[in-house]
């Protein structure tokens, strides 16, 4: 006695490795685009408390994530790509339904997103070599500089393309050992929330990536003013919001990297410079002698 009635999915936030509803209990309906406007889901409208919880989880996870070898971080990112590949069809469906993409366009975005994660998986044990120097100082010291993760990074994800935009800015932040608190696309949060399920079933340690849906205007200031957030990756594409982020960031001298986002992220929007934006340079001196 099987029924044809589909089981609908409840989309939840992804905080500290768990799928949770917003602490505030609020929700926003997500519709498919006109003309066939249909309710797709009621998603959590995240709150300040959700941000604070996520920052706490991110801080708790960051150090041990950074301590893992590059080889292991690379394998974990590659595992994310594997998981995404396995669910590619459901992502394509979300992109078609929530943004009205053609099947071909949805497929292109899903493929590009998988490729982007694979690209950064390969960087995990290589960026350090390219960003490190041995410094020829004019005295009897061995002096070298290496990149280290900045810490907890707030990511304001682009509105569109909501999946490729998300992985484009999330992957380079976490590959170097940072932990991220992401504000997802406000208009199109479903693909991002679905990615939470991918992360939950990959080997990414809980808290390394936290995904929150909700209203950016409400949430961004709490992220930008949070004293335990070290940097903001601002790919939100909103000039007024960007200025507010940059001002609020001064409260604890956050690093802010602003990206101008274009819908066509498939090509050049990847590489070492995206990783370099969220690492610090540590220089160590030691005397040479016997």
């Amino acid at each position: 006695m099987s029924s044809e009635l589909p089981v609908r999915k409840t989309y939840k936030l992804y905080i500290g490795g768990e799928m949770v509803r917003t602490e505030s209990g609020r929700s926003d309906p997500i519709y498919s685009p006109r003309p066939k406007k249909a309710l797709l889901a009621n998603v959590s409208r995240g709150s300040r408390k959700d941000i604070r919880d996520a920052v706490g989880k991110a801080r708790g996870a960051q150090e041990s994530w950074a301590k893992k070898t590059g080889y292991l971080r690379g394998q974990i990112l590659y595992r994310m790509a594997e998981m995404l590949e396995g669910r590619a069809e459901s992502f394509e469906k979300i992109l078609r339904e929530s943004r009205g993409l053609s099947p071909a366009a949805a497929r292109r975005e899903a493929r590009a997103s998988i490729d982007r994660i694979v690209h950064y998986a390969g960087w995990s044990d290589k960026f350090g070599a390219l960003l490190s120097t041995v410094n020829p100082v004019a005295s009897s010291y061995y002096d070298f500089s290496v990149p280290e993760p900045t810490g907890v990074v707030g990511v304001v994800a682009p509105e569109t393309p909501e999946l490729l935009g998300l992985v484009t800015y999330l992957a380079p932040v976490i590959v170097s050992g940072n932990a991220a608190v992401v504000l997802l696309s406000e208009r199109h949060p479903l693909a991002g929330l679905e990615l939470g399920e991918v992360l939950a079933t990959s080997d990414l340690p809980a808290g390394v990536a936290n995904l929150i849906s909700g209203r950016k205007e409400e949430l961004v200031p709490h992220l930008a003013r949070h004293m335990d957030v070290n940097a903001i990756c601002d790919a939100g594409g909103d000039a007024a919001l960007s200025k507010a982020i940059a001002q609020d960031a001064a409260v604890n001298v956050k690093r802010v990297k602003r990206y101008a986002v274009h819908d066509n992220l498939a090509g050049a929007a990847q590489g070492l410079e995206f990783i370099e934006a969220f690492v610090e340079t540590k220089t160590t001196w030691h005397p040479v002698g016997v």
């Binding site: 120097t133 410094n135 020829p136 100082v137 004019a138 005295s139 010291y141 002096d143 500089s145 280290e148 900045t150 810490g151 070290n230 000039a239 960007s242 200025k243 940059a246 001002q247 960031a249 001064a250 409260v251 604890n252 001298v253 690093r255 410079e273 610090e280 340079t281 540590k282 220089t283 160590t284 001196w285 030691h286 005397p287």
Partner: protein, 506 residues
């Protein structure tokens, strides 16, 4: 494990016994030195300086001047102009003009040759610059002569060589200069900070408006004169003297493409807010509260020298000063005694005297701040240890000081004092040392002292600080990147990394 514990206790007990049996040092008259002042007659000072704009010294449109003094004597050394909005505007326009018409069109190798000239001129005039630095800032001549001025020349020499090698520094990418850079520098290393700012900016093809600190403008003006002697195209380097208002005019000027600031975290945050949303590039090198960690297996005498160098160098007016000493509990009595003995030998006095170790505090305002924080240390219950050295009657002075019995919550353990004042705390395990070291919003520098290489790498990799000195402290080199984590700022100065802050990558 138990062996280690017993060994640790035995060592501690032996150290305490030795400390109690040993009399503190008696120097008597054996440690008095005949005065050995550096000659000043070769330093020619004008009674009044204008602003350096468009390759020449001009009277300020503001028509305002202020006096600059020698903090060791309180005597007026000269008068300098106070640049107003119109003056800053003139300087920025002159820099923009020079950028468009001359500097950006010059062959990179030619840019390099100008910068080499500046390096050589600093070397030629080294002694006069050192004397001037000491007269205007109060730092001991042995430091200005052996550290500030040679490093300033080295910085220009180093970055001169990068001018025609940017395509190797950024392989696979095209670099473009930014345009006019507004650079604001502090009073603790006036000439050296000017070099840190100007050299990489010029090497990358930018032009500069430099604002030296209010209390120490004279070596920046001497550097302006050197730029003229080097036949640097007019407007490539401009120097506007003044206080925070002058700096604000520069920060807010719409034609400035980049701001580079070295100074307090408080002002850095104001600048970060001010440039938000303007598209201006920004680097900040701000305050610090560095932990200097001494493990029980360290070479103690060397560590004590490092502690002394870390906090009393330049009267502690150093953003990366090792102002928090974290010493392993087992050796605290020995370190405390050796430190007390050592600071008793530091000679405080005439900064122009070649034997002087500790010079004058830079200004009355800074002295008041140091006194206030030291008083807070006493009020909060820490134990004060101070050198009994004689204090000159005139000028601003503060004796080498350290506190024991300091809690992490004490203001002297949390706030940047920027003076010769050390807060001593103890720890038992490496984990505790790391946690205490990182328990600060700052993250500029740190020190680690131990004989174990593995421990150095373990501890230094966990310290959230931009520069870690292992078995040394307060070392600087133009080839070595310097800059902070967290609220100590962002961006790096020095090394190949320092170039990145002055180019746009395409």
């Amino acid at each position: 494990m138990s062996t280690t514990v017993r060994d640790g206790r035995e060592r501690r007990e032996a150290a305490e016994k030795a400390a109690s049996e040993r009399p503190s040092l008696e120097f008597g008259s054996a440690w008095s030195y005949a005065p050995s002042p550096e000659a000043t007659d070769h330093v020619v000072l004008a009674p009044r300086y204008g602003l350096f704009i468009g390759g020449r010294f001009v009277a300020p449109r503001s028509k305002k001047h202020f006096r600059t003094i020698n903090p060791a004597t309180e005597a007026v050394v000269s008068e300098v102009a106070e640049a107003g909005a119109a003056d800053v505007d003139a300087a920025v326009r002159s820099a923009e003009d020079a950028y468009r018409k001359r500097w950006s069109k010059l062959a990179p190798a030619a840019r390099g040759k100008y910068i080499y000239r500046i390096a050589r001129l600093i070397q030629e005039k080294a002694r006069a610059l050192a004397v001037l630095e000491t007269m205007n800032g109060g730092k001991p001549i042995k430091e200005s002569r052996d550290v500030d001025v040679p490093l300033a020349a080295a910085h220009f020499f180093y970055y001169a060589g990068w001018a025609d090698k940017l395509s190797w520094a950024f392989r696979g990418r095209r670099t473009e200069p930014l345009g006019v850079c507004g650079q604001i520098i502090p009073w603790n290393f006036p000439l050296l900070m000017a070099a840190w700012k100007i050299a990489p900016a010029l090497a990358c093809g930018n032009t500069v408006v430099l604002k030296p600190a209010e209390t120490t403008p004279l070596t920046a003006l001497a550097l302006a004169e050197i730029c003229r002697e080097a036949d640097l195209p007019p407007g490539v380097v401009n120097v506007v003297t003044g206080a925070s208002e002058t700096g604000a005019h520069l920060v807010n000027h719409p034609r400035v493409a980049k701001i580079a600031f070295t100074g307090s975290t408080e002002v850095g945050k104001i600048i970060q807010r001010a440039v938000a949303g303007t598209g201006k590039r920004l680097t900040l090198e701000l305050g610090g509260k560095a932990a200097n960690i001494v493990f029980e297996d360290a070479a103690i005498d060397q560590a004590v020298e490092g502690i002394v160098n870390g906090i009393y160098f330049n009267q502690g007016h150093v953003c990366c000063a090792g102002s928090r000493l974290l010493v392993q509990e087992s050796i605290e009595p020995v370190v405390r005694r050796k430190l007390a003995d050592r600071i008793a030998t530091l000679r405080l006095g005439d900064p122009l005297d070649k034997n002087t170790d500790v010079g004058a505090i830079n200004s009355a305002a800074q002295l008041a701040k140091i006194r206030e924080l030291v008083q807070s240390g006493v009020d909060e219950g820490a134990v004060l240890h101070q050198s009994a050295c004689a204090i000159p009657v005139k000028g601003y002075w503060f004796p080498p000081t350290f506190f024991t019995g300091v809690a992490q919550s004490h203001r002297i353990a949390r706030e940047e004092i920027f003076g010769p004042v050390l807060a001593v705390m103890t720890f038992r395990t490496p984990e505790e040392a790391i946690e205490k070291a990182n328990n600060t919003p700052y993250g500029l520098s740190a020190g680690v002292w131990t004989d174990k290489g593995a421990k150095i790498f373990q501890v230094s990799s966990k310290l959230r600080a931009g520069v870690v000195w292992a078995n040394t402290f307060n070392k600087f080199d133009p080839a070595s990147p310097f800059g902070g984590y967290k609220e100590s700022g962002f961006g790096r100065e020095g090394g190949m990394q320092g170039l990145k802050e002055y180019v746009e990558l395409r």
